[in-house]
């Protein structure tokens, strides 16, 4: 883990390049971005996600051909009108440029991944699917729906993948409470919860 503090403080070359390509190819799609630090990312509007996804997959200088991981995070905020926000993070990677100069300059050496973040209001957590752009996103989207409760639209039927179909709620939401019982089996929450 020999991280160079100088490189960590300067903007990440790969994310910088992705940001430039997205701003050129899909103007107005980027909301906010974080180019420095250990986890650089680009925030994207939900409605332009599919354009951006197609762009970063097909652009010759990025070729993010693999959707490595889709995660959902719940950020509740009781003061907000919408009850807070929900976030979907797409970690995309490329197998095309293991020797690319920009990747080599990274703090993490040549690690060809970028992260896209999409924030949606908590009372209407709907994000368009990217399943037709990266086929492997199918199961990741189902899992995110199952555990976090973010709904992916414009795709084929979205149903649970890990939990039973009749399981109450989405357990990784921060305000989820343990049900008293499931099919007559009492549930005792772990201590401290």
């Amino acid at each position: 883990m020999a991280d160079n503090p100088d490189t960590a403080a300067s903007p990440d070359p790969v994310t910088e390049r992705a940001l430039r390509i997205i701003e050129e190819g899909a103007p107005g799609a980027v909301t906010t971005s974080e180019l420095t630090g250990r986890h650089p990312w680009i925030g994207v509007k939900a409605e332009s996600l599919r354009d951006v996804a197609g762009l970063v997959r097909d652009h010759d200088d990025l070729k993010m051909e693999c959707c490595h991981l889709i995660s959902g995070v719940d950020w509740p905020d009781p003061k907000s009108e919408t009850g807070g926000e929900m976030e979907v993070i797409y970690h995309l990677c490329s197998y095309a440029f293991p020797a690319d100069e920009a990747y080599k300059q990274r703090a993490e050496k040549n690690d060809p991944w970028i992260a896209l973040k999409v924030r949606v209001p908590r009372d209407k957590p709907e994000v368009p699917t990217v399943m037709d752009i990266w086929t492997g996103a199918d199961w990741h989207e189902r899992e995110t729906y199952d555990l976090v409760g973010i709904r992916f639209t414009m795709r084929k039927e979205l149903f649970r993948i890990l939990l039973p179909e009749d399981w109450p709620g989405h357990p990784l939401q921060k305000d989820w409470v343990y049900p008293a019982s499931y099919h007559g089996v009492p549930i005792i929450p772990p201590e401290g919860l």
Binding site: M1, H91, N110, L162
Partner: protein
């Protein structure tokens, strides 16, 4: 007899009574007997599904027309537990994701936590981690190689690999006290030092493994029956593999020359000299078929032996535990860390919130993405070949369901 049927009187030749009867009966069968596609379940208790995987298949005779894998039977809420327990208490649960590669899981989780908390790991601990992780990789691949023979009907190689695997598991048992789940890699270093006796034992074991590998290859890789059964079967080409997020031997068999250990060097893997086996036409079979995936695992065992030898030679003296602050509370930050497990890339995405426990932990089990692709790949295959395909992907359901 059917005098009114013109087809029987064509040509006016006298026909043998028996022939007519058979002909008639066949016509009757195709007319009266309805054929239809059948839906059946493979699993969740089927030995060839390597755990509790249920695959619903629609078949036309012996041909698979469509299928849908159902997972989640052993979901154990690793991510939910991670949000409720301090980082160091979460570590034992990581072992239980991919239970055939427990130490590799610990290694990845610890590296992610150390990156989040900006902790330093002593040199000797880094070497120790690489040694045990590579031992684990050999154990995992031996299991995959042997069990694949079992899937295809060869029982003997399975028992042969268990001989070496037992000794390897004893090795890890001696340092950690566990046979399958070790909890040996800790945040900041290792649980205990590697003694000289243990290292001598390790040397003897990797020599044996290297010596016995050709024996397994005689039984499987160079066996005509095995080759006929796997070559050209279950082809996952580059495009399919990348689109579905297949990683590990499945990706490399498709011809992608990619291994996180070399291409995204983590820990101290950049100090060793080893090859990345990847699929090509010179070894027989087709690019990305079951045979090439098996071949890659065999080659990776050889490469792991090489890495262990080099790490053994370079192993420095010193402590095996770094300074970890009491009440470890990583600040507000997020990390994404990925590394090469025996089955593919295990990635951990973690959000710290200045508390003893993480705000969110997300794990990407490589088997989860690897098994998803069979919905597309298995269409049009024979049911018997479906067993060969699932076996060659070498999935661990503990990691699919987490």
């Amino acid at each position: 007899m059917s005098d009114g049927n013109p087809s029987l009187r064509s040509g006016g030749e006298p026909r043998h009574a028996g022939t007519v009867e058979i002909h008639e009966r066949q016509e009757m069968v195709s007319r009266d007997l309805r054929t239809e596609e059948m839906v059946f379940n493979m699993g969740p208790q089927h030995p060839a599904t390597h755990g509790v995987l249920r695959v619903v298949c629609k078949s036309d005779g012996e041909t698979v027309r469509a299928l849908q894998p159902h997972v989640g039977n052993i979901h154990r809420c690793v991510e939910k537990i991670g949000e409720n327990l301090p980082y160091y208490q979460w570590l034992p649960y990581v072992d239980r994701m991919d239970y055939l590669a427990a130490i590799c899981n610990e290694h990845v989780a610890c590296m992610a936590i150390e990156k989040l908390g900006e902790l330093e790991v002593p040199e000797r601990a880094e070497y120790g981690r690489v040694i045990v992780a590579e031992v684990q990789r050999i154990l995992s691949h031996l299991m995959a190689i042997g069990v694949y023979g079992l899937d295809l009907g060869a029982f003997t190689p399975f028992l042969h690999q268990f001989r070496e695997r037992e000794r390897g598991m004893d090795l890890l048992d001696h340092i950690s006290g566990g046979r399958l789940l070790y909890h040996f890699v800790r945040i900041g270093g290792l649980k205990r030092d590697l003694s000289q006796d243990w290292l001598d034992e390790l040397d003897a074991w990797i020599d044996t493994v290297e010596q016995r590998l050709p024996e397994y290859n005689t039984l499987l890789l160079n066996n005509r029956i095995f080759q006929e059964r796997t070559m050209g079967i279950g082809v996952i080409d580059r495009d399919t593999a990348v689109r579905w997020g297949v990683t590990g031997p499945g990706l490399r068999a498709a011809g992608v020359n990619w291994d996180c250990r070399r291409d995204v060097p983590y820990s101290i893997y950049d100090r060793f000299d080893f090859e990345i086996p990847h699929g090509h036409s010179g070894i027989g079979g087709e690019l990305g078929d079951c045979f090439q995936r098996h071949w890659i695992r065999v080659r990776e065992v050889e490469e792991s032996v090489k890495i262990i030898r080099q790490a053994r030679a370079q192993l420095p003296e010193g402590p095996v535990m770094g300074r970890v602050p009491k009440g470890f509370r990583p600040k507000d930050a997020e990390v994404y860390f990925r590394a090469e497990n025996p089955r593919g890339e295990l990635a951990v995405y973690m959000i710290g919130a200045g508390k003893p426990e993480a705000y969110r932990i997300r794990c990407r089990g490589p088997s989860f993405s690897n098994i998803a692709c069979i919905t597309e790949v298995a269409e049009g295959m024979l049911i018997a070949d479906l067993v060969a395909l699932i076996g060659s992907l070498d999935i661990v359901l503990g990691e699919v369901d987490r």
